[in-house]
């Protein structure tokens, strides 16, 4: 499973990197989205053993978790990370749109004025 | 609105999977709150539907229930039939179909009625409703295999629209 996830993670990162190196604003955003998927999965694999069974929900009367329950902490961390990256992504979208509007092009290479000497 | 509130309370209990009184109370109050929030949308819809409702329909509650039940059974049957039809077409060794879009004139007037009809058409054999003309008098339907366009039109009007119009004019 970890191998499988590791490959998935690698693929996500590779895809993200490739997209981020394009010139299109939209591809850049999509790359960032993939990047955050990759990170989330990566954290997920870092949990206390990635197991198929056992939602991290304990018995509501005894408070005892089934043996083999997955690591709830990484889930909480990823949840936080997901929500944060949601906020960021929304912002980047808005910013990218505004930049496209201002530059009248969605080509990132056209957005190089602030560095001109 | 009250009916809707009850429906929402019921939905709440279904969601909670618990039909205790306290759940009903909570569900009812939440439903009330939700209706309050969504009242603009709901009121518009109710007013719009009421505009086309004929007077004689009111007060014939048992008949309506009967019609509703019949409608549901009919709908289910149509859906299953539709699926089998489509499956048959798909599994043919050679695809030999003759798709097209036909215009169906509408008698049903209310938005809810039109929606119900359109959805029903979509769910049933080889037809998908694509759009309704802005003045609501024509429904455009895509058919996967048209042998006789007029027959199809009649079929839709007779078996579907008639039933729908009884519930929502």
């Amino acid at each position: 499973m970890i191998l499988l996830l590791a490959i998935a993670i690698g693929t996500l990162f590779a895809g993200a990197v490739y997209l981020m190196l394009r010139r299109s604003v939209v591809k850049l955003i999509l790359g960032l989205v993939l990047l955050s998927h990759g990170v989330n999965l990566l954290i997920f694999t870092m949990g206390d053993g990635v197991r198929r069974a056992g939602l991290p929900i304990v018995d509501s009367s005894t408070g005892i978790a089934e043996p083999g329950t997955t690591d709830p902490l990484v889930q909480a961390l990823i949840l936080t990370a997901i929500v944060i990256s949601f906020g960021l992504t929304a912002f980047i979208m808005a910013l990218a749109y505004r930049a496209t509007q201002a530059v009248q092009s969605d080509d990132l290479d056209d957005m190089a004025h602030t560095d001109r000497l | 609105m009250l009916t809707l509130n009850f429906i929402l309370a019921l939905t709440w209990m279904v969601l909670q999977r618990s039909f205790s009184f306290s759940d009903f109370v909570v569900g009812f109050s939440l439903g009330f709150a939700v209706i309050t929030i969504a009242q603009v949308a709901l009121r518009e819809q109710l007013l719009e539907t009421a505009k086309f409702r004929r007077h004689q329909d009111i007060g014939r509650y048992p008949l309506i229930v009967w019609k509703v039940l019949g409608f549901i059974l009919f709908a289910f049957w149509s859906i299953i039939k539709a699926n089998i039809d489509v499956a048959r077409i798909l599994l043919r060794p050679r695809l030999n179909i003759n798709p097209g879009i036909i215009a169906v004139p509408l008698d049903v007037r209310s938005e809810v009625g039109i929606t119900l009809l359109a959805n029903l058409i979509t769910l049933t054999p080889g037809t998908i409703s694509i759009d309704i003309s802005t003045n609501r008098d024509t429904l455009y339907v895509h058919c996967i295999d048209i042998q006789d366009a007029d027959a199809l039109r009649d079929d839709i009007k007779q078996s579907f629209e008639r039933r729908v119009i009884e519930l929502f004019p």
Binding site: L35, M46, A81, F91, R98, A99, A112, T114, D115 | -
Partner: protein
């Protein structure tokens, strides 16, 4: 437990929420009052905290009252207190500067709440003792900075802002990856616990790669050599007040985190990586100052200097000693203040001329002598000329470097100092000394609101220089506290250490 440690977070968050709720024109005074009160409170609190830590040592508390290492620990030591204090000071001054320099439109669009939330993120980052929580505060401050840097929506802001945002996002991603891998490897997120477990890790190992990952993450926030490009591309685009507070806070949080995580938690790894860190520090200094020399715009010059000065901060880290960290802290605290002041004053000049282009400015020394005096004192401080605070920052670093035998980096640092002076003098020459081309009488005069914030900071820099004895003593203590991971562990988890607490809780 020092439950008061949460106050510097609660205050800005409540104030920001209230300021958003009270944005309506008729409540404007209330919103402003809340903002100012909150920042003033933070400033007062952090001064008190400095005193408290000076007399009682580290302060620790556990959020939600869950024992360390399971809950989120909040720790304040000398380093955090200093940074906390300087950032709230800068924030206060920035708010005052903004009130007089910015179009009222900014206030309609939640400029002040964003500033408060920036302060919130920064304060959280300085106080937290949990690595993932640090990530969260980083994101808070980053997103606030994103909002601030693009607020106004001019084309340069949008172009520069996009690069700023994306490159910072890559850094954040690395941070997150590092958090995840750290948890996967050592099974904990509490800094003290990590530091303790690091002692039992077989070195060198994957942990080294994780340390490097952290270096990459914080390095890109701090704008070290190959990762600084977001800074000069964007920092000159927003209003001067924003640039000023950014220059004061943002990269410094990165530097602080490098100190905290590499200097304290990953101390063993730092010892191994020190030569490379110093290499990066030296290159960062030089590339930054070279970049500044090439520019012909006030704020762009200053922006490149930020990079260069981060090199100094990293040098303090690379010395991998209490003295190095102490010197770095001193330098960082100084540069935060002075840099902000220079951006304020430069911004005032820019506002007078309507441009920051050196070629189009001139003759300001005669027209606005007060501005000139404070600018000159500011660049003296930045260049490390006594008795301004910059001198002590520089000497502390050089002293630490020389005493530890790091001659090369000390030489580079000294050389960078003179290049810094050189490029700052360019602004002085062009803006203040050079003859103005046109008729200056039409230009607006500097208002007290534009002048005083920068002047106050310059005076503080002078005062810090004159009172450097106390300051240096305090930063030395802070440096020792930072370098003393074992003491940190005991403060957080008790005398037995975190592992014992961990085992006891699971038994």
């Amino acid at each position: 437990m020092a439950n008061h440690l949460f106050l510097p977070l609660i205050s800005p968050i409540l104030a920001a929420a209230l300021a958003v709720i009270f944005t309506h024109q008729q409540w404007r005074w209330l919103a402003r009052g809340v903002v100012l009160m909150s920042i003033t409170f933070n400033l007062g609190y952090s001064l008190w905290l400095i005193w408290l830590i000076g007399s009682e040592g580290r302060q620790v508390t556990q959020a939600s009252n869950w024992i360390a290492p399971f809950g989120i620990t909040f720790v304040a030591d000398g380093a955090s207190a200093i940074m906390l204090c300087v950032s709230s000071l800068l924030m206060l001054v920035t708010v005052i500067y903004s009130l007089s320099s910015l179009d009222p439109g900014y206030e309609n669009f939640y400029y002040y709440p964003l500033l408060l939330l920036l302060l919130l993120g920064v304060s959280g980052a300085f106080l937290t003792g949990d690595i993932f929580n640090l990530y969260v505060w980083f994101e808070v401050l980053l997103l606030a900075s994103f909002g601030l840097i693009t607020l106004g929506g001019s084309r340069p802001q949008l172009e520069g802002g996009l690069k700023y945002v994306v490159l910072n996002l890559i850094g954040s991603t690395a941070f997150l990856i590092a958090c995840g891998m750290l948890y996967g490897t050592v099974g904990t997120l509490n800094m003290a616990h990590v530091a303790e477990r690091m002692q039992r890790v077989q070195n060198p190992s994957i942990v080294t790669a994780i340390a490097c990952l952290f270096f990459f993450a914080y390095g890109s926030k701090a704008a070290v050599l190959p990762l600084f490009f977001w800074l000069p591309t964007s920092y000159h685009t927003p209003p001067a007040a924003v640039t000023a507070i950014f220059s004061g806070l943002l990269t410094k949080v990165g530097a602080y985190s490098l100190y905290r995580i590499l200097g304290q938690v990953f101390q063993g790894e730092l010892a191994r990586l020190a030569p490379y860190v110093l290499l990066i520090a030296g290159l960062t200094m030089l590339v930054g100052v070279f970049g500044a020399m090439a520019q012909m715009n006030v704020r762009r010059i200053l922006s490149f200097h930020i990079v260069s000065q981060i090199g100094y901060a990293i040098m303090g880290l690379g010395l991998a000693s209490a003295a190095g960290l102490a010197a770095g802290l001193l330098f960082t605290a100084h540069v935060m203040i002075v840099k902000t002041a220079l951006f304020f004053i430069g911004g005032a000049a820019e506002q007078i001329y309507g441009t920051g282009d050196l070629k189009k400015m001139g003759g300001l020394a005669r027209r606005e002598p007060a501005l000139a005096i404070f600018w000159f004192l500011g660049i003296l401080s930045l260049a490390g000329i006594p008795p301004m605070s910059g001198f002590f920052g520089k000497v502390a670093l050089l002293q630490a470097g020389v005493n530890q035998g790091a001659y090369l980096i000390s030489g580079v640092a000294a050389f960078t100092g003179i290049l810094t002076f050189f490029s700052m003098l360019k602004i002085w020459n062009e803006v203040f000394w050079k003859k103005a081309y046109g008729d200056m009488s039409k230009l607006p005069r500097v208002t007290p609101g534009l002048l005083l914030p920068g002047a106050a900071l310059v005076i503080i820099s002078l005062a810090l220089g004159l009172g450097a004895g106390m300051l240096v003593d305090y930063t030395n203590v802070a440096g020792e506290q930072l370098f003393d991971w074992a003491g940190y562990v005991i403060s957080v988890c008790g005398d037995e250490g975190c592992e014992a607490a961990f085992e006891a809780a699971l038994r």
